[in-house]
Symmetry: C2
Subunit: 358 residues, 2 copies
């Protein structure tokens, strides 16, 4: 794999896949296939994994009450200082969990520094944010609420908002039945995280990995083959086809301007992490434009060419590019129905803090 | 009704109610009551009317395809110049069709001049906007898209966005099957308007008006009685309890600052319309704070007192105020399920205009 510039490399996928190649997954939701896997299916299983039904880990609370509270908080603009911005503003469920902007716009119409990644399947990533600075969706969810460029709130504001509405107080008690006083800022993250752990978007590629060789068209299979042959799979593996490793990446726009994002270096202080970013997931990639950490590329075809050149040192032929795009298009999944059902939010009271626009 | 300062007065409700008082509505969706109406029910029917199932007028198209297209456009941020602001930004379905802000925030974080009214039941109003400058929801819906303070787009931008996505082109063809080329700016309004005509939120008060005297609690009935006795019903009549007449209204905040909104005068140039505003609907009023055309009052109790003083020259007792609030709380209705189900929006293409933040 010439030109590969990983600073960290997730090999868990390869390890587990080695034990699975040639087998059919047993936890699948369709009858276990009797037919042996094709060679391409076996190849795919060396780096890819069918999506789990959700991203809860062993022992995690996954109650309906917790998930529903998390959804309310996800759609709750009153958590922000202005009362206008919710998680859903930048991670719009109607557009596959993104805002389709190069960088997001927050409090006071300020622009953020990086492109907003989708919340769909994000809980499957091994760390959160482009620079991996948070370990999970629970801790990630708390950050944009407090970021002065985004929702610009304080913990005190958030707690005052939630305490002001008896309905929220009740929801927290139902969602955290074993806690004496569950209305805590950290639990806002726990609830939003639980909601995010349900945002899994299965595709035909999952059926393919589970043994149904006809789940992809012949052209999509040629795309999968081209994807592997080009070496894309060496970074884009696991159930989300990404989200598990960091790679050094300078975008063409950064190269042109000379303004290069330090990336993970700002978190670790390690020179090897300079310009390193989390490898993005490829699920729903057709819908989550614009691309790259600076949102500087709008076309997926161009993006595939740029990434192949930068990461693999390869020039793709137009045919390879088109085939890979066909495979990527097959990765657009179903957004879970409950995530598309807007909650009706509790009524403000006289105690609810008033919006502040600055 | 001393102190009444109407510039225009909708009497249609009174005329039709005269013919109905003492009768039970025959187009109701529950078995026609056999029991005679109570005196209070008869009084209520002199000014109020049960909500119709929708706000379509005779001969209007109400196809599923048209309504669904309208919903997509209502939630579509790419209609705006920034790609960030949709109708739902200020008329958030999760918060009863309002943004719960004194005035809305639009393109470039600019503030609008007036409080955003709810879209729920708005199609029942006899005109649109606080100053009534548009006749219906179809023409209203087109205005914020082009307003430089709101979505800041142009007709050309909107059409370029819609033409760039084949899925939208198909949806327009399905929604307007008899038009040769239906993808026109005016039809954006027709579709959003059709969606808005479905946004009717029935309450227990409708059941009460249809003959079920037990649909309101005794205290709510005392509230209804206090509401009528104070004279509130003289302006707040019809199925939406408002939205049918204009009244001169200067808010306490305007009086204090001396900055009085000219209101409908700016539309008609008629001195009698100076500071005149459309009487707001009282449906879901508990949820659509802050109140008045400048969004300057947060408490509904205070608002009821102010309006009684300004419009009726009355000082309400604390008991009257509390009773009226109990009646108003009974006017919170059900948001239709389809309006809470987010559409999954079509994918942008290379031709889709890029967001511009200015």
């Amino acid at each position: 794999m010439p030109g590969l510039k990983h600073t960290t490399f997730a090999i868990a996928g390869l390890l587990f896949a080695a034990s699975l190649a040639g087998m059919v997954f047993t936890h699948c939701d369709r009858p276990t296939a009797e037919v042996p896997l094709t060679e391409l299916q076996q190849q795919a299983l060396t780096f890819a994994r069918p999506l789990p039904p959700d991203a809860f880990e062993e022992g995690m609370d996954r109650s309906e009450a917790l998930i529903e509270l998390g959804k309310m908080l996800f759609f709750e603009p009153r958590l922000s200082k202005s009362g206008l911005i919710s998680c859903n503003t930048c991670h719009n469920m109607a557009t596959f969990g993104v805002d389709q902007l190069p960088v997001s716009v927050g409090h006071g119409w300020q622009k953020g520094p990086r492109n907003a990644p989708t919340v769909l399947n994000a809980a499957l990533h091994t760390s959160q944010f482009w620079d991996g600075r948070e370990p999970d969706v629970e801790s990630q969810a708390l950050m944009p609420i407090l970021d002065p460029l985004e929702m610009a709130a304080t913990e005190e504001h958030v707690l005052a908002v939630l305490w002001s509405m008896p309905e929220y107080v009740d929801h927290f008690r139902e969602a955290f039945p074993e806690e004496e006083e569950p209305l805590l800022y950290a639990n806002v993250g726990v609830a939003i995280g639980a909601f995010e752990r349900t945002l899994i978007t299965p595709t035909r590629f999952d059926d393919y990995l589970r043994g149904d060789a006809g789940a992809l068209t012949e052209y999509e299979k040629r795309g999968l083959h081209a994807f592997i042959e080009a070496g894309c799979h060496s970074c884009h593996g696991g159930p989300a086809l990404g989200g598990r490793a960091f790679s050094m990446f300078v975008t063409p726009a950064e190269r042109a301007s000379g303004q290069k994002d330090p990336g993970r270096f700002d978190i670790t202080g390690n020179e090897l992490d300079r310009h390193a970013f989390k490898v993005p997931s490829l699920l729903n990639i057709n819908e989550t434009h614009p691309y790259l950490h600076d949102g500087s590329l709008w076309g997926l075809g161009e993006t595939v060419d740029v990434v192949a050149r930068e990461m693999l040192g390869s020039e793709l032929s137009p045919e390879q590019n088109a085939e890979i795009l066909a495979f990527l298009a097959a990765l657009t999944g179903e957004i879970p129905a409950h995530a598309l059902k807007l909650p009706v939010l509790p009524s403000s009271t006289e105690q609810t803090p008033r919006p502040v626009f600055d």
